[in-house]
Amino acid sequence: MNPAPAASTSHGVVRLEIPAVAEWVAVARLAVAAVASRQRFSVDEIEDVKLAVAEACTNAIQHGTPDGSISIVCEVSDEGLVLTVRDRGQGPPLGAVEEERIGEGGRTEELGVFLIRALMDCVEYTSDVRDGTQLVMTKRVSG
């Protein structure tokens, strides 16, 4: 996995907060897709970003968040898009998931983690009792 990009010029930050409820995940992914479409991402790359943010939100919903909300921050820069998905809950340890386990019918959350790691260029995860769970995902513009 490649390291996060070095400091780059930020062109704006979009903040969104959604209820931690399944029906709101579509709103998150459509909003993030709209932000991503302002950059030089291909259609496929925008689909990758949509799926990654949806998986992060689904993780937050499935593991519960005490204040019932999920925060999504999209930071646009020359080099790409940095998405930070944060909730107040204790998420699962996002370790590496082996493809063989998925083939055997791994749990949905493992599939979600696998997809996030496969579709995004850089993924950083922190979780603790005091601050909750934070997932920072970077997608670089390839073109």
Partner: protein, 114 residues
């Protein structure tokens, strides 16, 4: 955003589940209910048509995997019809192409059940 589910009987004992829309954490329970109902009625050979599905996430994949595991316990199978490159890519990167039969059209998916 919604998912439309249509179940129809096909050749022999096989059933086809046509899905239209987006399969995510909100809509996947509806897909799961349709598949579970078929299996509960002892229909173990299924074709799930994803041609009109624009989006699928891990919860949708989980429903398909769960259905496949259940029908296999009874000697059945689940074949998928999928032509959307983005959705095919999801099956590719998760390795699920190895456990599902994935076909470009319903006729081929039905033929492979036999």
């Amino acid at each position: 955003m919604d998912i439309k589910v249509n179940v129809r009987e096909s050749e022999g004992d096989a059933y086809v589940v046509d899905l239209t829309g987006e399969i995510d954490v909100y809509t996947s329970p509806k897909v799961k209910d349709a598949i579970t109902e078929l299996i509960d009625k002892e229909h173990y050979n299924l074709v799930i048509n994803l041609e009109k599905v624009r989006y699928i996430d891990s919860t949708g994949l989980g429903v398909l995997i769960g259905g496949l595991k259940r029908v296999r316990e009874h000697g059945g199978s689940v074949n998928l019809v999928c032509t959307n490159p983005q959705i095919k890519k999801i099956f590719d990167i998760t390795g699920l192409v190895k456990i599902f039969g994935i076909f470009d059209d319903e006729q081929s998916a039905m033929k492979a059940l036999a």
